[in-house]
């Protein structure tokens, strides 16, 4: 099979059991290059664990993950994470300026000399921030701005895949809406695959792309956002939307 046709990431029969409790079970998924994926599901469905597996912050207890056709186990976790970036639910800001934060990944690789000021501005703008704020103290920013700095910081390694764990959880509705718009714009710019976990279906609706619904650690539905929000294919999908959606157009 030609390499180009392989998904960026593929999971086959992936399961996670923690202290006797099944967190994920028999998950088989493919993430294509340039795709947008929203992982939805109720609390405890295994969404965050799935995202952590994709960044190899955890290993599955069953099944295999593949990155461009190479098993995760055969890849160095460091190399993988430079291609698969992750942004966490609560923005984690390192001490120093916005510039210091953006340079963090390259400094870790001792590639300080390769830091191009144009890349810093570009990453900030892709994350929906003003390129002029590089010198500002990152700790003094608003929560929404901090989350965008985290996204810009993740983009500095020019990843192929961006994992977002409920990036809007700490934001007010307006800031959340703007951030989703920025992420959609970001995924359309270049071939960045964006996989976003959310427990707010309205954000997944605005995000578009494909929806993956996890319930009880299993993938119960996978379809385009358009189809999912108009006519979910499964009873669990309908039940999930009934319980969680009230004002989103259907």
């Amino acid at each position: 099979m030609p390499i180009a046709s392989l998904p960026v990431i593929r999971l086959e029969g992936v399961g996670v059991t923690k202290q006797g409790r099944t967190v994920l079970s028999d998950v088989t998924l493919s993430f294509e290059s340039g795709g947008r994926y929203a992982i939805l599901g109720p609390s405890g469905a295994g969404k965050t664990t799935l995202l952590r597996l994709l960044d190899r912050l955890e290993d599955p207890t069953a099944g295999v993950l593949w990155f461009h056709g190479t098993s995760y186990a055969q890849l160095s976790a460091i190399t993988l994470r430079r291609g698969v970036a992750m942004v966490f639910q609560v923005p984690v800001i390192f001490p120093g300026s916005v510039r210091d934060n953006l340079c963090a990944a390259l400094r870790l690789q001792r590639r300080d000399g390769e830091i191009d000021p144009a890349d810093l501005t570009r990453a900030l703008e892709l994350a929906g921030l003003d390129g002029a704020m590089l010198a500002r103290d990152a700790a003094a920013l608003s929560t929404g701005e901090k989350q965008r700095v985290c996204i810009a910081r993740a983009l500095m390694t020019r990843p192929e895949v961006l994992l977002l764990d409920e990036p809007t959880a700490a934001l007010d509705p307006t800031a959340a809406h703007h951030l989703i718009e920025s992420i959609v714009h970001l995924s359309r710019t270049g071939r960045l695959t964006v996989i976003m976990v959310s427990h707010q279906p309205e954000h997944a609706h605005g995000f578009g792309g494909e929806v993956i619904l996890l319930v009880g650690g299993r993938v119960v539905e996978q379809s385009s956002a358009e189809q999912f929000f108009v006519a979910p294919a499964t009873d669990q999908g309908r039940s999930y939307l009934d319980r969680t959606l009230s004002g989103v157009p259907s």
Binding site: R81, R82, F88, V92, L108
Partner: protein, 264 residues
């Protein structure tokens, strides 16, 4: 001036125990609830020191390197168990880790100090090895306790930051570097403070003991300087090895934070 050494009688020691009675009385008056601890500590001090006096008397009279090495290993093991006991979850892995780190730090210090610098004869001369090792282990033990406590609280408290660094492609060593630095600093501050004020505020026990024992103050201070440098070296090596290996135990070979370690 009469410089002859006074050999205190047991009755004089009993009078000194009266100081402890005053301490116990004050503790009771203030409702500190430390009376029982003070009594136990006072009795232990007496019994342990009398016992070690007889043991040292026996050891000094024999010419057995194996016995002296066994005593040094025993001292290291007791120190390692003490450090582990001070932690929230003293495991055998932690005890062995501390034992290894103390052995590396104190062992290297002793070899350098007694065999390279002082060149004692014979190499196992207990008059030098045992008191010097006691000073070095005692201080390294305190540093090791501080280092483990600080490292554990730093890594458990900064889980988000550590994982954010890992997600950016940091190695586990890079991700733990801030915590390791904080732990090493916390462990080394006491000896640095001691070195800053020695002779000005404090007259260390060994130096005092030597002067009381009839040594020239100049000889006593030379030994004390040597001791201070030995302690600084051994605490640095011990905490360096300990924090490096302890931090490593928080991560898998795939640079993942071990959930069980941070939640323990």
């Amino acid at each position: 001036m009469n410089t002859q050494l006074i050999d205190p009688s047991w009755m004089q020691i009993a009078c000194a125990a009266g100081l402890l009675l005053v301490t116990i009385g004050l503790s009771a008056a203030r409702g500190l609830g430390l009376g029982q601890d003070l009594i136990v500590a006072g009795i232990r001090t007496f019994v342990q020191l009398v016992a070690i006096g007889y043991v040292l008397g026996f050891v000094f009279s024999t010419d057995s390197p194996a016995l002296i090495i066994a005593i040094l290993i025993f001292m290291l093991a007791v120190a390692a168990w003490t450090v582990a006991a001070r932690q929230r979850r003293p495991t055998n892995a932690l005890r062995l880790l501390v034992l290894g780190s103390l052995s590396a730090g104190c062992g290297l210090t002793m070899v350098l100090a007694t065999e390279v610098i002082l060149r004692i004869q014979p190499w196992y001369n207990p008059y030098y090895l045992i008191p010097l090792m006691g000073m070095v282990i005692g201080n390294s033990l305190n540093s090791a306790t501080l280092a483990v406590e600080r490292l554990d609280s730093e890594l458990r408290g900064a889980r988000d930051r550590v994982e954010a660094l890992l997600a950016l492609g940091a190695t586990s060593r890079q991700a733990a570097a801030t915590a390791v630095r904080a732990a090493m600093k916390a462990a080394m501050i006491p000896i640095i403070n001691s070195m800053m004020v020695v002779g000005l505020v404090s007259l260390p026990g060994m130096m005092t003991g030597q002067i009381l024992g009839g040594s020239s103050p100049l000889v006593a201070i030379k030994y004390q300087v040597l001791i201070m440098y030995m302690i600084a070296f051994s605490t640095t090596i011990t905490t360096f090895v300990l924090t490096t290996l302890r931090a490593r135990s928080y991560f898998t070979p795939a640079h993942q934070l071990r959930e069980a370690a941070v939640e323990a």
